[in-house]
Symmetry: C2
Subunit: 223 residues, 2 copies
């Protein structure tokens, strides 16, 4: 036992998990641009070299942090409800995780086949098997659902990055819509001009859910 004299140096051992947790705190508090090895060093009262002893690179750290959040978000049970509801629950779990941590969306959209994506892919696929989807169609159907997540993730996360951590999203979208109405020529972009007003009023979560409904209806029609 080393109860007292263990000095002040390394009272808590600086493990990979500690680094990941600190990264989540920095990312949530100040956004993805704020996560640097210098900020991390300061936050952990250590040097960059010590961090590199536990983590190979920044991209490896980002995938680990992303997987941490996604794994925590997928704690829904998947064998109790009917399969279609299970899929909806998983999809919304991921959306809510991105909503709570916009940097997760950026990371999911940027890195292919990273552990977090595999986790989502598998989870969606498992729920999809319970439907009467033929085996040759399961891959395409699961991919469509996952791509929908990733597409929304990229746009949503990037939007949140532009607005800042606490800005009003509907105000931001209203500004975008206003810019459409002025900058964008109505004759060049007729569809945009017509739905510009809907943009500021729409609910991202509802739109995401509508997309899920669309894909599920397509699966039901084509299976």
């Amino acid at each position: 036992m080393k109860d007292k004299p263990r000095a002040d140096r390394r009272t808590n051992p600086l493990t990979r998990d500690v680094i990941v947790q600190a990264s989540v705190e920095i990312l949530d508090a100040a956004g993805e641009r704020a996560l640097t090895f210098r900020a991390l060093s300061a936050h952990l009262s250590t040097g960059a070299g010590a961090i590199y002893h536990h983590v190979a690179s920044k991209s490896e750290l980002l995938t680990a942090v992303t997987d941490e959040v996604i794994a925590g978000a997928l704690h829904h049970g998947d064998d109790e409800v009917e399969p279609e509801q299970a899929i909806r629950a998983v999809m919304l779990d991921v959306f809510d995780a991105i909503d709570a941590h916009p940097w997760v969306g950026a990371q999911l959209a940027a890195e292919p086949w990273q552990p977090a994506v595999l986790r989502i892919f598998n989870r969606v696929g498992v729920s999809l098997e319970a439907l009467d989807v033929p085996e040759g169609f399961q891959f395409d159907a699961t991919s469509a659902l996952v791509h929908h997540i990733l597409g929304v993730a990229g746009q949503y996360a990037a939007g949140a990055r532009l607005t800042g951590p606490d800005a009003d999203r509907s105000a931001f979208l209203g500004a975008v819509a206003a810019q459409w109405a002025t900058t964008v020529a109505a004759d060049e972009y007729p569809f945009l001009a017509r739905i510009a007003k809907m943009l500021s009023e729409h609910d991202d979560r509802e739109q995401f859910r509508a997309g899920v409904d669309l894909i599920l209806a397509g699966i039901a029609a084509l299976r």
Copy 2:
């Protein structure tokens, strides 16, 4: 007229278009990581300051370059064929553009509401209006299609970035699948384990098209 003595300084004027074209060449030849203001300066035989006189920042340059490629890819006519075929044509045009320039995919997935995305969004929406989609549903339906593009874009582009400009994609996917079979525990990721073998054989373009079919079938079912 200044036909001869125009000297060596101002032989060709270094305009914004010249910079965009040079950027496309660098990106296509060496990937997105190769596009730096130093490489651009060398390629154009100038200095960084001169470039900044025509372009505000690197991200502005990237959005301009992306819009250039997407605008060139959307030259399909949209008023001659039946609307559903028009949508398929637009979707595949964008996919093929991303296939030819993987960095476009990364950029599309990263920046929200950039001009290139608006261009795609409007084009899909215009074609969608010709279907019997009720007005309140057009926004959600168009968003689902665009999100599908963006989701695929991010994954596909990032995959191409990992493999390099000329590597064999199916070989890369085979390696990913092999890693699934070994690293990923079959009991933890049952669906992935079962589908791993399909990954190396699948055709990305066909899978993208299957996703489009899925969403279109969903639109037809819900409208």
